[in-house]
Amino acid sequence: MRALVTGLSTYWGGRVAQALEQRPDVEVVVGVDTHDPRTPLERTEFVRTDSSHSILARIVRATQVDTIVHTHLVVDSTRATSRTLHEINVIGTMNLLAAAGAPSSPVRKVVLKSSGLVYGANKADPYFFREDMARTGPANTPVERSLLEVEGFVRDFADDNPHVDVSLLRFANVLGVDIDTPFTAALRRPVVPEILGFDPRLQFVHEDDVVDALMYSINNDIPGVYNVGADGNLPWSEVCAIVGKRRFALPPAFTNLAAEPARLLRLWDLPPEAMQLLRFGRTIDNTRYKHAGFRYSYTTATTIEAFAQALRLAGTIGDSSPSYRYQREVEDFFRHSPAVIRSPE
């Protein structure tokens, strides 16, 4: 297998590349991103691109990769303006699929990391979203709109290229100490917001399960759309109780306005789509991916418990993850210098 990973500098891209490097049958791992990688990598070749992946077609032609893992979809709208969001998600995916679908393209598999955000969170929602269900309310936020647009491209691409296995994974909210999402950030604060009188059912997925789920699609030929979320759901009040945080009630009306001071004080930065979740919650049905053979290591409750334990550990010993700085000369030396003796066998 020759694999290309987008978003190499994101947490997901880095972890997927690490996992790919472990596999002896993966000959080449190419990673692209706009920033330097933040995870130590053994043999992944890093190429700096612009955010919309415009040189991807050239990279695919030159490297003859057969598998593309697209982890670079922004699902956290606090990270990017709606303009960059559009650039990265919509234009980036368009270029990526164009590169993958070019005539005589060697690509046979595309795995994408999308989000449960495409379902939204509305009052008329079913309690468990299956992959074939549409959202019940309009997509009002830029991130939701861009993800819907991306999924539309992916559907068209899969229709036009039946010889390519396209797996689209929609993830529930991710919890883990290593990953920064609006929810993990809020749960690190001493007080956590809630909407007065609402206690929605929320579902999470553990960061390790996310990587395992992506790897499972890479390792197996299971084209299709899959929800990935841990079993079960918990009320928000209980999530906060397990993590051991006090809740601060925001008014049920003008909620986003009332949350603005906290946003300005950088206490919590919960975007409107996260606020909708705190009102109505969302659970996605994970049975289809389980039927495809995937096994979760965590349930929603144990995901939260593991997060709480890791937070307590980090609170005592500090941030334990060693800091890594990418230096091109060093990485190039180890990969390409004739002085380095590679592959001992």
Binding site: K123, A124, P126, Y127, F198, L234, P235, E305
Partner: protein, 310 residues
Amino acid sequence: MADGPERATERALEIAAATHPDLDLTEIDPGIGRELVPLARLPEPAPPEARRSDVDQWGRSEHFRALTRRAFDPIYKHWFRVEWEGFEHLPEEGGALLVANHAGAIPPDAPSIMHGIEKDLGRPVYGLAEHLFRTLPVVGTLWSRSGGVTAHPDNAYRLLHDEERLVLVFPEGTKGTGKLYTDRYRLRRFGRGGFVDIAMRAGVPVIPIAVMGAEETMPILFKSPRLAKMLNIPYFPVTANMLAFGPAGLVAYLPAKFRIRVLPPVYFDVAPNQERYSRSRVMEESERIRRMVQDALYDMLRKRRSVWFG
């Protein structure tokens, strides 16, 4: 660190040589343990589930339900004095869709039916209702904890088919509860027959239930469409209770006598899990069930001597 596994293997070989002198251990490479050390970080085992509440994935809490049952039981027994007929038609196992008429500005028929079945049959009932509840702060959460579920076809299907539950639905919806006192016991349209479609899909029978008494507990005298629109609710009623008791009339029910008649189950002779069912068949069955409930109500009203004493 590097020679750790090798040392361990050597040590294991020494022990093996001492305890099993008959084994030939010379062939074993002392470096064998090296492969056992994974390169990536060790995955941490998932901690055990440590729940802090008993809220299930539908949002129900048995603890909270026990509390509400205890609070509602005296009202059920002494205020509404609920009496059942045809209770034996309720199945002791398997899914079934209970379909009842709906009345009263804030309808007391749902809790009465649910409470009676849970108390005497010992099976939980899932009450489907308008998603309006989900948008109400506090009320919506309590409603959900006490067993309310949004009336979405997929929710009903999951409960009936996958979990084989008893599910209670009021096909008239707010058209039933929002009707004036002068229209009492005249059933409204049963939606678009969606409930028949779901029962067919899930392969469960429909059990029609006629409720007498709910109409008189909170009769609507007038409605204000303008206020309803302003508050974004289906109807804004002015009830007899409000005129009599003021604001307390919002929660004070009149003590009408309740009679609940369970009719024989209606089975549909169709294969479950079909892509779609004949629209005309669905509408026909829906109308037939509406007729059954309506006729049962007329029959019960004929026998009723007093609104308050039955």
